[in-house]
């Protein structure tokens, strides 16, 4: 290892606070990027199982009629 002790690795002769701050931020963002979508998917599936019956979508109907005389009167 480049540093001879744990303390030296933490201190990094003065620059440690900045380096470890960046490391912490990176860990937070990387974990967030991987965990958040997975968690929202799991929560969505859980919600889905609760209201299982999908509300029936009204089936659209189209009728085409040939009418030879339009005016009803």
């Amino acid at each position: 290892m480049y540093f001879d002790s744990l303390q030296a690795a933490l201190a990094m002769d003065g620059h440690g606070v900045y380096v470890w701050a960046v490391v912490a931020a990176s860990v937070v963002i990387c974990v967030g990027l991987l965990v958040l979508p997975a968690r929202s998917a799991r929560r969505f599936i859980a919600e889905l199982r609760v209201d299982d019956a999908p509300e029936p979508r009204a089936a659209p109907s189209v009728r085409i009629e040939e009418v030879n005389n339009a005016s009803g009167s």
Binding site: M12, H15, Y18, V23, A25, L33, P37, P54
Partner: protein, 245 residues
């Protein structure tokens, strides 16, 4: 040959395939990130000019590189969704935006923190960091436009157009910022000058860049899976999936 292309468009197929890819890629990504970080932080030699603060490069550069690549991925997905009207490409574009924005934010944050020990101030109008800030605005613009439309299909099309316009502009923005930066501080060294790096410093950096690319891919696929579930709520394949869990 075209069946996979059309299959690519069907949510259940995509959901299954992405599941299999993630099963392999996710652990690999975590491993690479861990190894690269430890290697760069603890084993790589110190930079004699900047001291240990240079180790921030192992997070700043990969985040910047992948954030920029992420915008191109988003724009190309947008183009595919506009030209071939592929739903899956639109989902990919929508899901790529937040991941890219997060990495751009990490790049900005690490750049700012790096500025303190190196330049004595948290915000330095360095060419790279300024371009990253503009890239961040481009990402936020696409995400804000997506939220603004009620009809999500229209939102997808509008964002595809905007990200394509952004893609055309990115090289112009980067070049103009470089010219602007060189105008004011011609003498100083560039932040991320990798040229003079010794191989023992460079290898962990390349590993970290690869790791961040895989991270982007995993996050994108995870985001897409969640989006596919949400969009396919009423359909059969989601029902069967829910039953199976």
């Amino acid at each position: 040959m075209w069946t996979w292309f059309h299959k690519l468009g069907s949510p259940p197929w995509m959901y299954r395939i992405s599941g299999r890819i993630l099963a392999i890629l996710l652990p690999l990504t975590v491993l690479m990130l861990a190894v690269g970080a430890v290697w760069g932080l603890l084993y790589a030699p110190m930079d004699f000019k900047q001291g240990n603060s240079f180790r921030i490069i192992y997070f700043h550069v990969p985040a910047s590189v992948v954030a920029l690549a992420g915008y191109y991925v988003m724009a190309i997905a947008g183009a595919v969704s506009l030209i071939w009207r592929m739903k899956m490409a639109e989902v990919a574009m929508k899901c790529a935006a937040p991941v890219g924005a997060a990495l751009t934010f990490l790049s900005l944050l690490s750049g700012a923190i790096w500025g303190k020990p190196t330049w004595g101030t948290y915000w330095v109008w360095d060419a790279r960091i300024t371009s990253m800030l503009i890239l961040f605005f481009l990402y936020l613009g696409v995400m804000a436009l997506y939220q603004a439309y009620e009809n999500k299909e229209a939102a997808g099309k509008a964002c595809a157009v905007l990200s394509l316009v952004g893609m055309v502009n990115i090289p112009i923005i980067y070049k103009s910022v470089d010219w602007w930066y060189s105008l004011h501080q011609p003498a100083t060294i560039k932040f991320t000058e990798e040229s003079a790096m010794h191989s023992s410093m460079l290898q962990p950096l390349l590993l970290m860049i690869l790791a961040f690319y895989c991270l982007f891919t995993c996050a994108l696929l995870l985001n897409m899976r969640s989006e596919l579930l949400r969009r396919g709520a009423g359909t059969g394949w989601v029902r069967s999936l829910v039953g199976a869990h």
